[in-house]
């Protein structure tokens, strides 16, 4: 068996998997009939529909010829990891993680952390430039979001403000 379109093959499998999962999940709720629909009715049929679509997409990817095999190509692990990480660290520092006894460090600390971690995602980042960027963004965000828009953030670390 030869895969003619890599992108379609794997997206078809993904749709089949998710469709089956939703359809199976839907059967745990009351499905009901057309006239008296239960909470499981609509998701069950959508799940089945999506599984079928996924199957057709996968089938076509094995049959229909494409230019160059429609390769997925290399995953950009580095940007993926650092951008998502920057986001998660921002959340953890901003409000803390009570579950792990991590105190809130507030907006300013979180901004510096986010800018530094995100910057690593691109090759050739420089400490000084990143530090200046983080400072500008910290001051700007404080003025825009805290002072002007009055959004509710913990701004400073919890051990300073008490």
């Amino acid at each position: 068996m030869h895969i003619k379109s890599q992108k379609d093959f794997f997206s078809g499998l993904m749709f089949m998997g998710i469709g089956l999962a939703f359809a199976w999940g839907a059967t745990t709720y009351n499905v009901g009939t057309g006239a008296r629909m239960g909470p499981g009715y609509f998701p069950l049929y959508l799940g089945v529909l999506m599984t079928l679509l996924g199957a057709v997409i996968t089938f076509k990817s094995l049959v229909v010829e494409t230019v160059g095999g429609d390769k997925i190509g290399k995953w950009a692990w580095k940007p993926l990891f650092f951008v998502i990480m920057a986001n998660l660290v921002f959340g953890a520092l901003l409000a803390g993680l009570p579950y792990f006894d991590i105190p809130a460090m507030g907006l300013i600390v979180a901004i510096y952390a986010l800018v530094f971690i995100a910057s690593i995602a691109e090759d050739g980042w420089k400490f000084k430039a990143t530090f200046i960027l983080a400072t500008i963004l910290a001051i700007g965000s404080y003025l825009a979001f805290v002072m002007a828009l009055k959004l509710q953030f913990p701004v400073w670390p919890a051990f300073i403000t008490g």
């Binding site: 529909l49 940007p79 986001n87 995602a121 953030f153």
Partner: protein, 503 residues
């Protein structure tokens, strides 16, 4: 004249200092993100949604709308000067606009884009004002069966007219519909697919999905590409005024672009992107006059027509949203979200229950277009400077604004974890060639579709034939089926692929 009465009510609302201010803010932000490649109106509007909580609903919607049509103006600047589409709807503007810039005619190209957009924006706004009331009348005759059929048509139309694989796009819609069902079922009170996580019983945040798929997903795939050598034409933008001959050439193109764009904007799945492609294709079909520059080498019609069309399309795509409550594209899906967080149920009743909002929004679009001409032509120098800022300084800022926006939606870190997850999913979609826009439409329409299907079948006692025995519903479904059949015909299929692969 009822129209004039309505518009004067609208201008009364839009001309208050606070609304003028937010209109201006929206237009500036729109131009900004339009000029900057790699960030579009969907991500920006998603980012700013939480920040509009504190505003009155009219001001919030005026600002968000300004971002959308402002982006159409800004996108052309980047397309002409850097040969990069600042906005996806400016892809075709690159072809002739950049060639004009290379020949030292960047000024006239920018002016053609700006003036064409302004004219198209004014016409689009008028069409919106004139067509909204009759369509609203029609919408009141709709029962649940008609609404279900209409949503089906809307979703099918959205993918038929979009680029890429039809099957995958439909699968993405279904995925969106399913994700929209996560959370508590309004009828039975059962928490569906929530895995006993309390935050999930409220459903997945719509800002979270938009931001994860459109914000993070795109940043990551942008970073994965090696940085382009950008060649910015800044020296040649001295004389903005087009010549007499330019005006003669571009006027009919602007008219055709405006007309085509307005018509395509109303269609489900339409809006700015499709309008621009179609207008360029039409101009290429028109005869070239003797002595005119051929297309692809800097023809001013190739700039004026798509730019007018994308702006007209972005205005008229508000029609289905404001009259029927059905979003025709991803940006309008976000506007539904914006209206809902301000406790306004989008649909035909908006015009009667919130006339100030309805007409104020429409009037603000006209004012916004006037502001944008000023922002984009005399002040072009500022935007050109922006183009020299490297991406490495931009993307951490975008990541930051996404993170702040997500957190402030509910002041809850749960949403921050979720957006991380959707960022990974978004990048996977990019790698697999699945477009996220249909998913967002499905996500918005999921609960509405289920509710209308449930009501329709309850009224018919479970008889599915209700969808084909009621004339309006049958007609809408027939159009949907017809669309699919037409697109899958081999001849049309090739043409469709050709149209979206305009070099």
């Amino acid at each position: 004249m009822e129209l004039i009465e309505h518009l004067s009510l609208g201008f009364g609302v839009a001309f208050t200092p606070i609304n003028l201010l937010y209109c201006l803010v929206g237009c500036i932000l729109g131009t900004l993100i339009g000029v900057l490649p790699g960030i579009g109106p969907v991500a920006t509007i998603a980012m700013l949604l939480p920040a509009t909580y504190a505003l009155p609903p009219v001001s919030a919607l005026i600002m968000l709308a300004g971002i959308y049509y402002g982006a159409q103006y800004g996108g052309s600047t980047t397309a002409i000067l850097v040969n990069l589409p600042g906005e996806s709807s400016s892809v075709v503007t690159c072809i002739d606009g950049y060639q004009m810039a290379r020949k030292g005619r960047a000024g006239p190209a920018l002016a053609a884009a700006g003036l064409g957009s302004f004219f198209a924006g004014c016409v689009g706004t008028l069409i919106l004002a004139a067509f909204a009331p009759p369509l609203t009348e029609l919408a009141f005759k709709f029962g649940p069966a008609e609404y279900f059929a209409l949503m089906t048509l809307g979703l099918i139309g959205a993918v038929v007219l979009a680029s890429g694989s039809l099957l995958k796009a439909i699968a993405m819609i279904v995925l969106g519909l399913l994700l929209g069902l996560v959370g508590t079922d309004v009828n039975s009170g059962v928490a569906r697919f929530s895995f006993d996580i309390p935050e999930l019983t409220d459903g997945i945040g719509f800002v979270v999905i938009a931001m994860g798929l459109f914000g993070y997903g795109e940043i990551i795939s942008n970073l994965a590409q090696p940085e382009h050598e950008r060649e910015v034409f800044t020296a040649g933008v001295s004389g903005l005024m087009p010549t007499k001959q330019d005006f003669k050439d571009m006027t009919p193109a602007v008219l055709r672009g405006t007309f085509l764009g307005s018509a395509l904007g109303i269609l489900p799945g339409g809006g700015a992107l499709l309008a621009a492609f179609a207008a360029y294709a039409l101009e290429k079909k028109m005869k070239i006059k003797p002595g005119e520059v051929p297309f692809g080498q800097g023809n001013i019609r190739g700039v004026a027509a798509p730019e007018s069309a994308n702006n007209a399309g972005s205005q008229t795509s508000f029609i289905p949203l404001l009259t029927l409550g059905i979003p025709p594209n991803a940006v309008m899906a976000l506007m539904v979200g914006a209206m809902t967080i301000h406790n306004i149920q989008p649909g035909p009743q908006v015009m009667t229950s919130n006339p100030e909002l309805f007409w104020g929004l429409i009037a603000s679009m006209w004012i916004g277009n006037a502001m944008l001409v000023i922002l984009n032509l005399p002040l072009i120098g500022i935007w050109i400077k922006l183009l020299t800022v490297p991406y490495r300084y931009l993307f951490p800022a975008i990541v930051l604004f996404c993170a702040i926006g997500v957190y402030s939606t509910n002041n809850n870190t749960w949403d921050v974890w979720m957006v991380g997850l959707f960022g990974i999913i978004g990048y996977s979609f990019v790698k697999l060639g699945c477009e996220p826009a249909p998913l967002l439409l499905g996500f918005i329409l999921g609960p509405m579709m289920e509710e209308n299907l449930r009501r329709a079948l309850l009224l018919s006692r479970g008889d599915w034939s209700v969808f084909v025995t009621r004339p309006i519903s049958a007609g809408l479904l027939a159009v949907a089926v017809l669309m699919i059949i037409v697109v899958t015909l081999p001849a049309v299929k090739n043409k469709r692929e050709e149209a979206f692969v305009e070099e």
